[in-house]
């Protein structure tokens, strides 16, 4: 019998590691992976609460979040590939202009 608190603490720690990745790493692919990690930790919290109150709604919302994350990754990676093609670097510190 695991208290729901434990899941929330784990979710908070995973979210913080994800936020740290976005702050520290300068490779946009790894920043993107950190964003996925944060989404995932939010999903974990949502499923934990849904299981604690014995309701299916949380699980269905997680299903939607997974679908939205898939869409987001497809568009984001397409953007990264395009940026790499036009600038030949993917270091985010060197991306300082909106003009292609």
């Amino acid at each position: 019998m695991v208290p729901v608190n434990y899941y929330i603490i784990l979710s908070a720690i995973l979210f913080t590691i994800g936020a740290l990745g976005v702050l520290v790493r300068r490779n946009p692919l790894i920043m993107f992976m950190s964003i996925e990690l944060m989404l995932n930790s939010a999903n974990l919290a949502m499923v934990a609460f849904s299981s604690a109150i014995k309701s299916l709604s949380g699980q269905i919302f997680v299903f939607f979040v997974i679908a939205v994350a898939a869409a987001e990754v497809a568009v984001g990676l397409a953007l990264i590939v395009q940026i790499f093609k036009s600038r030949h670097t993917i270091n985010v510190d060197e991306m300082n202009s909106l003009k292609g």
Partner: protein, 173 residues
């Protein structure tokens, strides 16, 4: 210590270790593989929480489709090792801020005692067809509109990805 708690603690250690491995790896391919392991661990958490459908969706969509796409792009761009990897000293300020954040949120959660209650072991019926039927009923009755909106979102994302990567012939590049 029940078996559930022991399982939870072991899995929590694995989840945090793989997340840190993702954060600290110098090589982007290793980061991606650590993240696959993390997603698999979270899928096991979903099974523990009595959400087998979400666990399978997690494996197929996250660990399968999304991470394969990531690995594909990493290898396509040759971005395994980008220059400008952070030094250890670069981690100090963000890690300090993150530590403050996580301690404060955990303190608030514990002191207010808001998320009370325990996750009891899910009944075996969770792994039956009947559970999937309930889920499908909820998805296509109560949540029909969000479901349809999601399908439109996926279509838009697909069109967007194609438009972004399309080679323009004779037009502006």
């Amino acid at each position: 210590m029940t078996i559930d708690l022991i399982l939870f603690l072991i899995l929590a250690v694995v989840a945090i270790a793989t997340a840190l491995g993702m954060l600290l790896s110098r090589n982007a391919v290793y980061s991606a593989l650590f993240l696959v392991l993390n997603f698999a661990t979270v899928a096991v958490f979903y099974v523990l929480l009595g959400a087998p459908f979400i666990a399978m969706a997690q494996i197929t969509v996250y660990a399968g489709a999304i991470m394969v796409l990531f690995l594909f792009v990493i290898m396509l761009l040759g971005a395994e090792k980008t220059p400008g990897n952070p030094k250890w000293s670069d981690y100090i300020l963000p890690a300090g801020l993150a530590l403050v954040l996580v301690l404060e949120s955990i303190y608030l959660l514990i002191s207010r005692g808001v998320p009370s209650g325990e996750i009891v072991q899910p009944e075996a019926s969770v792994n039956s067809v009947d559970f999937l039927r309930q889920m499908g009923m909820a998805l296509f009755n109560e949540y029909l509109l969000p479901f349809e909106v999601t399908s439109i979102l996926l279509l838009v994302a697909m069109v967007g990805a194609i438009v972004l990567t399309k080679q323009e012939k004779g037009g502006r590049g």
